[in-house]
């Protein structure tokens, strides 16, 4: 009992520097979860599709980036400029993907039950895994961090009687993610397309009746989600490697969504941070008690418990079932 309820807190109090380090690590992975969750929210809001393929889109976009760069490098064109050409190329790939998904998958499945569309995104996931592996190969790839001006190294900060390490890359990730989220918020609130998106989110039929093209909107949101995925893929890839196993980690955006609610952008962010910090704390302080590795399921179990008590999420409205 002592080990479970007291000891971890004693440790936290005794070594506050370590606690800050763990919290920081949690925040950074939380930001990345939030970024992936944001892609889900975009698509869910505008099309009601729960896009299981968001995780593979993260991997696929990052692979495209690295793949295109490597292709250019093999042909004697490398360096910063080539990296940015590759970046544009990867964005182009995500655009093509959005168009293809809309044309091939969404359009024929209009008006099908949500769950059918959900399962269709499993199909997209598998297809992209296969396609990605055929084109780029299955082995992990290093992200082209230097070429994209991503910083290396770390700031070592003396505080609380110890030293806390802040990786510059993590700081950059947090900043870029915040910028991304802010610009999306502006896009949603201030632009014509943003208004159309919100209209579609409220009611497909009403939006159609005032002349908004659903097909165009879907392409736009899937493209936006693709770009968000690309950013998430670059950040994550720079921290570790670009590999298909990332797809499984990306699934953690699902519990994030359950915490935050499927339609709420601030929910996705707060949910992401809670899950990120929560699982790092749990892993570091309680994990050793059960042999470690609880990061693999902790987020899901939090979500499960949460669902039992508050199925509508942190920011969702109470669900009134109408008959």
């Amino acid at each position: 009992m002592y080990d479970v309820f007291m000891d971890p807190f004693v440790q936290m109090a005794q070594m506050p520097d370590l606690l800050v380090q763990v919290l920081w690590e949690g925040l950074v992975s939380g930001v990345l979860y939030a970024l992936i969750a944001l892609g889900f929210v975009l698509i869910f809001k505008a099309s009601g599709v729960f896009n299981f393929a968001q995780g593979i889109m993260v991997v696929f976009s990052a692979l495209s980036l690295v793949g295109i760069y490597q292709f250019l490098a093999r042909n004697g064109f490398s360096g910063h400029l080539a990296a940015f050409v590759a970046l544009v190329g990867a964005i182009g790939v995500m655009f093509l993907l959005a168009v293809a998904v809309e044309k091939i998958v969404l359009r024929p499945l209009v008006n099908q039950p949500d769950i059918i569309l959900f399962m269709a995104t499993f199909g997209i996931t598998w297809f992209l895994i296969g396609l990605g592996e055929i084109i780029f190969g299955g082995e992990p790839k290093a992200m082209i961090s230097d070429q994209l001006f991503l910083p290396r190294g770390a700031w070592n900060v003396d505080m609380l009687g110890g030293m806390v390490v802040f990786q510059k890359l993590d700081v950059a990730a947090a900043v870029i993610a915040s910028l991304m989220i802010a610009s999306l918020a502006v896009f949603f609130q201030k632009t014509r397309i943003g208004r159309a998106l919100r209209a579609v989110a409220d009611s497909h039929k009403a939006a159609l009746s005032v002349g908004i093209s659903l097909n165009q909107i879907w392409v736009i949101v899937w493209f936006a989600a693709g770009v968000v995925a690309l950013v998430a893929g670059i950040m994550w890839g720079a921290r570790s490697n670009v590999s298909f196993s990332l797809q499984i980690i990306a699934l953690k955006a699902l519990p994030v969504l359950i915490l935050g609610g499927f339609t709420s952008v601030p929910g996705a962010i707060v949910g992401g941070l809670i899950i990120g910090v929560g699982e790092k704390l749990a892993e570091f302080y309680w994990g050793p008690l059960v042999g470690g590795g609880i990061e693999a399921w902790f987020a899901y179990v939090i979500a499960l418990v949460f669902l039992l008590f508050r199925p509508q999420g942190l920011f969702g409205d109470k669900i009134i079932e109408r008959i």
């Binding site: 296969g130 592996e133 979500a303 199925p311």
Partner: protein, 354 residues
């Protein structure tokens, strides 16, 4: 011409409620069973039995389990792989702890453990549906898989971290372990799968199956018929997990012979789910059709002239399975089973168009 129901009058309700009311269907089923029990063992070589038939049957059983949940009760689960794992580990623990009891009894009992675990993880289904529930079952998937790795007691602290199936016999004939022949293993698996399919068919055609479908189609109206949601959904979870658990135990005992935790990962869950989607939601025949397609697909791809690259085969399988899922959801959401029904309908009126 030969497939007509004309002249077959049902003079009692029992005959009308039969699972196969048409005589030709019953003959067809008999022929298939005869072929499975006699012709396949006579003609099949070890590769065919061990790499195609046995795993196909096991996967079909798992698909039946999942279909009870997804197809009949409308509850989406992504934790099938883990529930199969529960069955496998339970059977392993039971047979290593009590080796004197026949292994087949333990294989069937393992289903009860899977059922209990399934029911626990089914509890949230009362309050949540659709993809929310899918996420909840992901919790089961990842938590259980983690347990298979970390709880040494489950695999008897074997240093390899895997479960090694000991040799067991039935009537003096080795059925598990290195000395068991593919033929005996195939026959054991076939018998169990046929038996359990029969039970599944009985359940879904009776009162319980109807309550499940009522909950699936319109849960509010179902409550008004006096159907209580929680017990009905939990029963679906339990029965479904029972089937998955037995399938998992069969998989390790009669096919793989040993298994690491990674065998029961989320990819297995998806593989089974895809069998259900492609085969047909809410159809038992569909489970077999879907399992056949998904399981045979990589084997067929391997035979294609691609240079025999194993990785390429896997990649192509992913690609094709993904494409097939989308294709079926768009073109025929009721899967291969619906195509089968249409074919029978055409055959019934052949040679006339209708």
């Amino acid at each position: 011409m030969f497939y007509r129901e004309a002249g077959q009058f049902k003079d009692n309700y029992a005959a009308d409620r039969a699972v196969f009311p048409i005589l030709q269907d019953r003959i067809g089923l008999g022929v298939i069973l005869l072929a499975a029990f006699l012709v396949v063992p006579l003609l099949g070589n070890a590769f065919f039995l061990n790499s195609i038939m046995t795993p196909f049957l096991i996967m079909a059983l798992g698909a039946i389990g999942l279909n009870i949940l997804v197809g009949y009760t409308g509850l989406l689960s992504l934790g099938t792989g883990a529930f199969m794992g529960v069955g496998a580990y339970a059977a392993y623990k039971l047979t290593t702890s009590f080796p004197q009891v026949n292994v087949l009894i333990w294989v069937m009992c393992s289903g009860f453990f899977a059922a209990a675990v399934g029911a626990v993880f089914g509890l949230p289904s009362l309050r949540i549906k659709g993809f929310y529930l899918a996420v909840a079952t992901l919790a089961a998937q990842f938590f259980l898989q983690w347990s298979f790795v970390r709880v040494g007691w489950l695999y008897n602290h074997d240093p390899s971290g895997a479960i090694q199936i000991p040799a067991r016999t039935l009537f003096g004939l080795p059925i598990t372990g290195p000395h068991a022949t593919p033929l005996t293993q195939y026959l054991v698996v076939l018998s169990i799968v046929v038996f359990m399919t029969l039970i599944a068919s009985n359940i879904v055609h009776g009162r319980i199956g109807r309550s499940w479908m009522a909950v699936r189609d319109m849960d509010i109206a179902a409550q008004l018929m006096g159907i209580r949601l929680l017990p009905t959904k939990l029963l679906a979870f339990a029965v479904s997990s029972f089937f998955c658990g037995v399938a998992g135990a069969l998989m390790v005992f009669f096919w793989l012979g040993a298994a690491e935790p990674v065998v029961f990962d989320i990819n297995l869950s998806f593989k089974i789910l895809f069998m259900v989607i492609i085969g047909g939601l809410g159809s038992l025949i569909g489970c077999f059709l879907g399992a056949a397609l998904i399981h045979v697909l990589p084997i067929v791809i391997r035979m294609l002239p691609l240079g025999g690259d194993a990785a390429m085969v896997e990649h192509l399988t992913f690609l094709l399975v993904g494409a097939l899922i989308i294709f079926f959801l768009i073109v025929e959401p009721h899967g291969l089973a619906q195509l089968w029904r249409l074919l029978k309908q055409k055959l019934r009126v052949w040679p006339f168009p209708y």
